[in-house]
Subunit: 206 residues, 2 copies
DNA sequence: GTGCGGGTTGACTGACCAGTCAATCTGTCG
DNA sequence: CGACAGATTGACTGGTCAGTCAACCCGCAC
């Protein structure tokens, strides 16, 4: 039965139902302060069913994070494979992250607040995955330095952390209403982040 | 007795003993995963004594955060009061934060990981205080824009968040060994952060 | 229609831990 | 010295919740 296509589809849908409910609950109440029963209630399923699809409460969050983060890593790799100036690559990366937020702000809130910036609890587990993103961005910077597009006196990894840190702080600003986050602001932000950071990295006339 | 100077000093020292122990425990195990008894053990005092000096476990963390954050806010205000170019003001601010890390990395780890970047739990409570820092930095930027030192097409608050986000990400890199954090690296970082960010903000010839 | 097997249910358990409190200690003052 | 006050102790309580599990449901195969 689990082998038949109809049922495995149904199972996947149930699983997704729980994951989507978890996003809403985590975003609203935070991972540590919500109960597994909150997730089950939000999904409209019984408590025990959560444990049929996931080994633990942690695994629910892990799944949400990894699903999205892997998509982002792939997107960065694709961007980097294209023959573009580094500035445009960074713009594409910033754009991808901002669009992720536009598309599903609750999911991005959960990922940033509960994983990426929670390096003592979940971040710990995913430090390697998070680090991968920095390394990919650093590689973009390094190549740009080799080709003279960026100045060479800033360590690529350092530049990558600065770039990513700026983006994440802006998202955090939107998430907690410290920064206006209307549609137009998001578009503006893509441009401004890269403009701010690249101005400093750019080796062009100064 | 609590009124006599010798005892009130002794009381203050005991309180400090507990606070310092809490820093080490929070840095090592994280706020959520440590027990109050861990703090008491680390301080070498009885469990109940923690509750003699603090109303709750939360209040211990609140105290640590506010103590340090208020010092930082004051430092930023003092920097801003001086007649310096904005770039040097930002350098002084970055320097202050980096020196805070050099002086007591465990405390900075706790503040960043458990408060500043934990906007769902403790950050929530202190959102206002955190926001104050952004506003102070934004004020520096705004004045620099008015005087033509910085370009005016980037919102001051946005610039402040970018600047602060970059710093915090670098500290996070040191905290979790994603970035080399030797003594010389810290000095280098002060310069590079401002260099990176201001290059973009600076309205000088481009 | 009967039986199988996975999906689904929710009451229950075991562990954990923040915070309380009554008892004890210690140093000071009259 | 006696007694008082605040400091210190740590056993205990109450509540919370992640995870378990035995029972039940339901669609399918034969």
């Amino acid at each position: 039965m689990a082998a038949s296509p109809r049922n495995s589809t149904a199972a996947a849908e149930k699983r997704r139902l729980i994951l989507d409910a978890a996003v809403r609950v985590f975003a609203r109440q935070g991972f540590h302060t919500c109960r597994v029963s909150d997730i089950a209630d939000e999904a409209g399923v019984a408590y025990g069913l959560v444990y049929h699809y996931f080994r633990s409460k942690d695994e629910v969050l892990d799944t949400l994070f990894l699903e999205r983060w892997n998509v982002m890593l792939e997107a960065i790799r694709e961007v980097d494979a294209q023959p573009l100036p580094a500035r445009e690559k960074l713009e594409a990366i910033a754009s991808f992250i901002v669009e992720s937020y536009r598309h599903d702000p609750e999911l991005m809130k959960v990922i940033i607040v509960e994983v990426t910036r929670a390096a003592n609890s979940f971040g710990q587990t995913h430090l390697g995955k998070i680090r991968e993103a920095f390394d990919l961005i650093a590689a973009v910077v390094r190549r740009a330095q080799d080709e003279g597009e960026f100045r060479s006196d800033i360590s690529p990894l350092f530049a990558a952390m600065t770039f990513y840190g700026a983006i994440e702080q802006v998202l955090t600003g939107w998430i907690f209403d410290a920064l206006p986050g209307a549609d137009a602001d998001l578009d503006e932000a893509k441009r401004l982040i890269v403009e701010t950071i690249c101005g400093g990295l750019d080796s062009s006339d100064r």
